[in-house]
């Protein structure tokens, strides 16, 4: 085995790991005893350098490669998704400097980066075993990140809930993987797909499928595995929420899609009766439940972060609809949507972080009169929220539209898919109601108490503006990014 090639392929992850060590080392030695703002800035700076280097490496240095048993697969599409994750993690790292809630700065940033490494591995492996290991690396870092604020009960609750549900679903997932291994006799997704499509229909396969769906359903916060989402979104330190709600969704969603498309065979559903008909009905059910429940539950929320938590549940539902597209459409729509969703989510939470400081949880009413105090941040919030609601010409609309179109195109004339998409469309109309409740406070309502003040500095503000710019650009000219995906998909589709 060529160890040099492995190192080359993994160099971005390696750079990040070094940066994580460096952050911890610096924080314990040179910066010990200095004020928190220095330590925060230094840590964010090191993280930014690490991520920049990693992105450059991905862009210019890392070559396409594939290692035995699908342990590590480096292809253009994986690289693209990794770059998205890195970019999102970078914005989160920089935004996190605005929320100075902890004294253990070095460890916090190190954990952010470790989680990011986990996600990158998750994206680039096509092997059941490494998939699980990468997922655990991500999850374990995220559990700690969620419960990181040692002085907050809510943070502790958030971490605990996330950990308990996460641990349980990881167990299910591993159990499911063991069945898959038993049935296919291999850990490599590609050969597994071949083995399974040759296999006769088997109840054990359905069991394995359900177990796998439970595992990833948790990651995506799809109903009925969503119970952690509102509490974690609300209680965790806000930078942790951003990571859980964005980059972790990108990695989890993409890995799930690959597992289903490759591992269960691309043509493994619908029509041809003798092959695996497993995942379509199950996934459609989960998608519909998520869209309906997430949106209806969000209607009743008063806490902004909780509201976004339930809206995340709904968005997991929309996302799953894209899985039904043809292979090319599924990759296109899911990757595009995940990217857009991640950027929008970080942006929306970024605005909350910018006004929240280390203060209490914000309710809708707290935002009353916000637009008159800080018009440009209010405008950014408008962009993010309307994008989540799927209003053109913002990116969220293009993303959702593509998901729906992909799902319908997969099977024209099939009324079941039309019904699922119709529910999605109707539910996004419902979602507008609660998104407007927030915007109403921001733009319409007169302030009752003191109006929220933007506490973020220049860095935080410019990150938020940058994200808003991305959301608008991706909405007005989705072609820019879709062309990248097209190029990548062509090179990977077999």
């Amino acid at each position: 085995m060529d160890y040099g090639l492995i190192f080359l392929t993994l160099s971005p992850e390696f750079v990040l790991a070094v940066a994580a060590m460096a952050v911890m080392g610096l924080d314990l030695t040179v910066l010990k005893g200095t004020s928190r703002i220095y330590r925060m800035t230094a840590a964010a700076g090191v993280m930014a350098i690490g991520i920049f280097t990693a992105i450059l490496l991905l862009q210019y240095y890392v070559k396409d490669a594939s290692f035995p048993l699908g342990m590590l697969v480096q292809n253009p599409l994986n690289l693209l998704v990794k770059k998205v994750i890195l970019f999102v993690a970078l914005t989160i790292g920089l935004l996190a400097t605005e929320v100075r809630f902890t004294r253990n700065v070095g460890e916090y940033y190190a954990l952010l980066m470790l989680a990011t490494i986990g996600m990158m591995l998750l994206v680039s492996t096509e092997n059941l075993l490494l998939l699980f290991v990468a997922l655990e690396l991500t999850s374990l870092s995220l559990y700690v990140l969620a419960g990181y604020n040692e002085r907050s009960r809510e943070s502790a609750e958030a971490g605990m809930k996330y950990f308990l549900f996460g641990g349980m679903s990881a167990a299910f997932l591993l159990f499911g993987f063991s069945y898959l291994y038993g049935l296919g006799g291999t850990l490599d997704l590609g050969s597994l797909g071949l083995a399974l499509s040759a296999h006769a229909a088997d109840p054990l396969l359905s069991v394995a499928l359900i177990l796998v769906v439970i595992g990833f359903g948790f990651k995506l916060a799809a109903v009925p595995f969503h119970f952690w989402a509102p509490d974690t979104y609300q209680g965790a330190p806000i930078a942790s929420t951003m990571l859980i709600g964005s980059a972790s969704k990108v990695a989890g969603g993409y890995a799930f899609l690959k597992l289903l498309l490759i591992g269960f065979g691309a043509g493994g559903w619908s029509g041809s009766g003798e092959t695996i008909t497993g995942w379509a009905p199950l996934l459609a059910l989960i998608a519909v439940l998520s869209m309906v429940f997430g949106n209806l539950a969000a209607l009743a929320q008063t806490s902004v972060r909780r509201l976004l938590g339930y809206s995340a549940v709904a968005h997991a539902g929309y996302l799953l609809l894209g899985f039904f597209g043809s292979e090319s459409d599924a990759y296109h729509s899911v990757v595009f949507y995940l990217t857009v969703y991640a950027l929008t989510t970080v942006g929306a939470f970024g605005v909350i972080a910018a006004v929240q400081g280390k203060g209490r949880d914000l309710t809708l009413r707290d935002f009353a009169g916000f637009s008159r105090k800080s018009p440009e941040m209010a405008l950014c919030l408008l962009v993010f929220i309307l994008s989540l609601a799927g209003i053109p010409p913002l990116a969220g609309f293009a993303g959702k539209f593509y998901l729906f179109a992909a799902a319908l195109k997969s099977d024209p004339g099939h009324m079941g898919m039309l019904a699922a998409v119709s529910i999605g469309v109707v539910m996004s109309a419902v979602s507008l109601y609660y998104y407007l409740q927030l915007l109403k406070q921001v733009f319409v309502a007169d302030p009752i108490g003191p109006v929220l003040r933007v506490k973020a500095g220049f860095l935080g503000r410019s990150m938020i503006l940058l994200l808003a710019f991305c959301v608008i650009t991706l909405g007005c000219a989705p072609g820019i990014f879709l062309d990248l995906i097209t190029g990548a998909v062509i090179s990977v589709s077999r």
Partner: protein
């Protein structure tokens, strides 16, 4: 040239946020006038005939076959002109807005830009994008600057609009997939030859989805509450152009794409439209609030548009477009008079209170203007309303005669409630009034922007009434374009 209407409006929306407050009104006025001018010269450039003129055609979202394609046809330019006029008058009537001025005009011009976009789109995806862009600003315009029950009115309006556009979106997606999933161009979709069963269920989805915004009975209830809640210039715009978006969508998307569906559902649609005409008229008659009278009259008049659409023949369809134009002008005028000239000075809209104010003597200009507008809207020959409703009724007589007769009764009801409003508010015998009122201080004189707006709208209506061919020469040939080929074949003309 026509593309500039859209670009200028959106640029203007951004511009008013950046210029000093003293200039905001003027910037908005210049942008609106420039939009009207571009629309006017663009219309001349287009020149008429059974063709459509491509303005812009660029690839946009390649994997879905979406193109950024703008196109002008006779119906489009007619409605672009209407939008231009409504925008200019709307800005004039917004002259006295003080609260959060720049934001107001930013939302206002965004709405206008979206409306222009809808009327010029040749790609269904693009049309839908503009359609949605036009919806969101309405919420803020009503919720921030509105009056009576503004929260309720704004939310109701937006939720109805979005429920409608959700139906449309489902229909669009289904049509796109059924047509092969490679193009969103209206013409491609219209020539896709869907199965009859598909057309029969997709048509009502798209038609009703659009028609919600046109005030189709029984989905009209957002209209009166929304109009009453909105500030005056926004009600003028809502009734003037936004309701036309819905009718336009029904005419430009639902009919050409699903002609078989349209023929199948014709009688039911005509029945709904006629119910709207009669019901809107009867309810308008019983209202105590002056603005609600106009609000319900809008539902009634939009019923004529929908009836015209449901006739599926050339006369009726042309009448529908003409009525869209005419109602756009007249509803704007009526709302302007009621909301600005009268309400802002008397501070009451209650008919019983207005009765005692002797407005004929104290506001002769408003009395005269409202009488003219009322006469025009009830269908007096010489004004645009007459020609439009006549076309619709002739068209209806040819294809759905029974509905046509009931709609004729609707015209009579229209005369009744309009006369009642004119008589009650402006011409109640001065002897009935409290003698003390005469001596009370006079109302503020009408400003130049107000007078300019009123004259502009009244003269437009008169012009179209006296010489309807200006518009009909554009509108009628449009139904000979390839887009309506399926409809022509199906309906046999």
């Amino acid at each position: 040239m026509l593309a500039w209407t859209i670009i200028l409006s959106f640029a203007g929306a951004l511009g008013v946020l950046l210029v000093p407050k003293a200039l905001v009104r003027w910037v908005a006025l210049v942008v609106a006038c420039a939009g009207l001018a571009c629309g006017f010269f663009g219309a001349i450039e287009f020149g008429g005939g059974p063709v459509s003129m491509s303005i812009v055609d660029l690839p946009w979202i390649a994997p879905l076959g979406v193109r950024f394609a703008l196109e002008a046809d006779g119906i489009g330019v007619t409605l672009v002109l209407l939008t231009g006029i409504a925008a200019v008058v709307g800005v004039l009537f917004s002259w006295n807005i003080e609260k959060r001025l720049s934001e107001y005009f930013a939302f206002f011009l965004t709405l206008i830009g979206g409306v222009y976009g809808v009327f010029l789109s040749a790609d269904l995806f693009l049309l839908f994008v503009f359609y949605e862009i036009a919806i969101v600003p309405k919420y803020f315009l009503i919720a921030i600057w509105g009056g009576t029950r503004k929260d309720y009115g704004a939310m109701k309006l937006v939720l109805y609009s979005f429920a409608g556009s959700a139906l449309v979106l489902i229909g669009i997606l289904a049509a796109f997939v059924a047509a092969g999933g490679s193009s969103f161009a209206l013409i491609d979709l219209a020539q896709a030859e869907y199965s009859v069963e598909f057309q029969r269920w997709a048509f009502p989805l798209v038609f009703v989805g659009f028609a919600v915004l046109a005030g189709l009975w029984p989905f009209h209830t957002w209209a009166p509450t929304g109009h009453v809640a909105a500030p005056t210039p926004v009600s003028m715009l809502l009734a003037g152009v936004v309701m036309k978006l819905g009718a336009y969508g029904a005419l430009k998307v639902a009919l050409p794409l699903f002609p078989e569906g349209a023929i199948f559902w014709r009688d039911i649609l005509a029945a709904l439209a006629v119910t709207g005409i009669v019901y809107g008229g009867l309810v308008a008659m019983t209202q105590k609030d002056f603005k609600f009278v106009i609000g319900y009259s809008s539902v009634s008049h939009m019923g004529f548009v929908l009836l015209g659409v449901a006739t599926l023949n050339e006369t009726g369809l042309s009448g529908a477009v003409l009525q869209m134009f005419s109602h756009g002008i007249l509803a704007g005028l009526l709302f302007g008079i009621v909301g600005r000239l009268v309400y802002d000075r008397t501070h009451t809209r209650n008919l019983d209170e207005l009765k005692s104010l002797n407005l004929r003597v104290r506001m002769p200009f408003a009395a005269g203007a409202f009488t003219v507008a009322g006469m025009a809207s009830m269908g007096m020959p010489g004004f645009s309303g007459f020609v439009a409703e006549l076309h619709v009724l002739i068209g209806a007589w040819r294809s759905v005669p029974v509905h046509g007769i009931i709609a004729g009764i609707g015209v009579v009801i229209g005369v009744a409630y309009t006369m009642k409003a004119i008589q009650t508010v402006f011409f109640t015998d001065a002897g009935d009034t409290d003698p003390g009122v005469e001596t009370s201080p006079t109302y503020a004189p009408f400003t130049v922007p107000e007078r300019a707006g009123v004259w502009m709208l009244s003269l437009t209506s008169l012009l179209i009434g006296l010489y309807p061919r200006i518009l009909l020469d554009w509108i009628t040939p449009t139904f000979q374009t390839p887009l309506y080929e399926g409809l022509r074949k199906g309906a046999g003309w």
